[in-house]
Amino acid sequence: MKLLKPIGFVLLIVLVGIQFIPSRSNQSTEVPSTDFVKTYKVSEQLGQILYTSCYNCHSNNTNYPWYSWVQPVGMLLENHINKGKEELNFSEFGTYSGRKQKSKLTAMISQVEDGEMPLASYTFIHREARLSAVDKNNLVDYLKTLKLATQKNRGNEPRPENIISIL
């Protein structure tokens, strides 16, 4: 029992200490030319859907909630955002190769269609990020047209000279 006091004290120090760890690092004021909405000239309406439902974890600009100031929640968020951006970063979409763009579009389509994205654990707190049936349809249809277009001018189809002969 005597031990409890010092342990509690140390914990308190740690808890106070970690509040000084910087968070909310994923913010930027400009929309780069490589951003998905600029790469594909996305309509304002669809852009808004993407901003609300996807960009917080999949772009270089997060609209942080107030509790991100509180550690260790802020660190968890930071970690989550980094993982999300590693998978798909809308801000850098234009830097992806044609192959990667198509690949990401395919994954986006199936994730949204299957209701895997946005994550249920995310929409549980962020109710505004939920996709309505109409929004979901519009988004998926749009992504499908993009995928088809990427397919056509992919530019990295195996070139004819690589095919030695066609029987």
Binding site: S97, G98, R99, K100, S103, T106, A107, S110, Q151, N156, E157, P158, P160, E161, N162, I163, I164, S165, I166, L167
Partner: protein, 196 residues
């Protein structure tokens, strides 16, 4: 006048020649494009260079495919890991400069899919989604750098809500990795990739 008409004839002939060349090239292009577009069409064979540089990748890809055929998500995951390692070991610089950019793009994309398949043990549907895109990458890779064995590009028209999906197999026999035991025989060989 005679000179002129001769010139015209020879120009016509050379134009004809060019045209036939173009026709061949276009045929090759169409052949590749229609892999995606005209899915039901049976394509002619493609002959690729004999090469061992993709052997480890093909081995592990086929092991992954077999695991999905067997509905074995855990095994698919471990094959995904070894395939990921095989991509990491692949030496792009050993290939001609003109191919390096595209090879780098293929390897980057394919590695990500292999990684996802590795990380999603227990979620075979998700593994299959990545396997489908991965298969296109492997197909394109083999066309560029060659293969050590004959491969069959097989098409399942039902996969992905009837959008269809392609996989590669070392055998003509249809064993569907997208559906496994649910629809083992769904699919048909649409292109044979033979080795020189």
């Amino acid at each position: 006048m005679i000179m002129l008409s001769l010139a015209l004839v020879s120009w016509g002939a050379s134009a004809q020649h060019d045209h036939s060349k173009m026709g061949h090239a276009t045929e090759g292009q169409t052949n590749m494009d229609s892999k995606m577009a005209n899915k039901s069409m049976v394509q002619p064979s493609v002959k690729v260079e004999r090469s061992k540089s993709a052997t480890a990748i093909i081995d592990n890809y086929l092991a992954l495919k077999d695991a999905l055929v067997a509905d074995n998500s855990n095994k698919a995951s471990s094959s995904g890991k070894t395939l990921f390692d095989a991509f990491a070991k692949f030496d792009i610089s050993a290939h001609p400069k003109s191919q390096q950019k595209e090879l780098a793009e293929i390897i980057e994309d394919a590695s990500e899919h292999a990684e996802h398949i590795f990380e999603n043990s227990g979620n075979i549907d998700h593994q299959r989604e990545h396997f489908e895109i991965l298969s296109t990458d492997i197909n394109d890779l083999v066309i560029i750098i060659g293969s050590d064995r004959t491969l069959y590009q097989t098409f399942c028209p039902m996969y992905n809500k009837n959008e269809g999906g392609v996989w590669l197999s070392a055998s003509r026999e249809i064993k569907n990795p997208f559906y496994g035991s649910k629809m083992m025989k769904c699919g048909s060989v649409q292109q044979e990739i033979t080795v020189e």
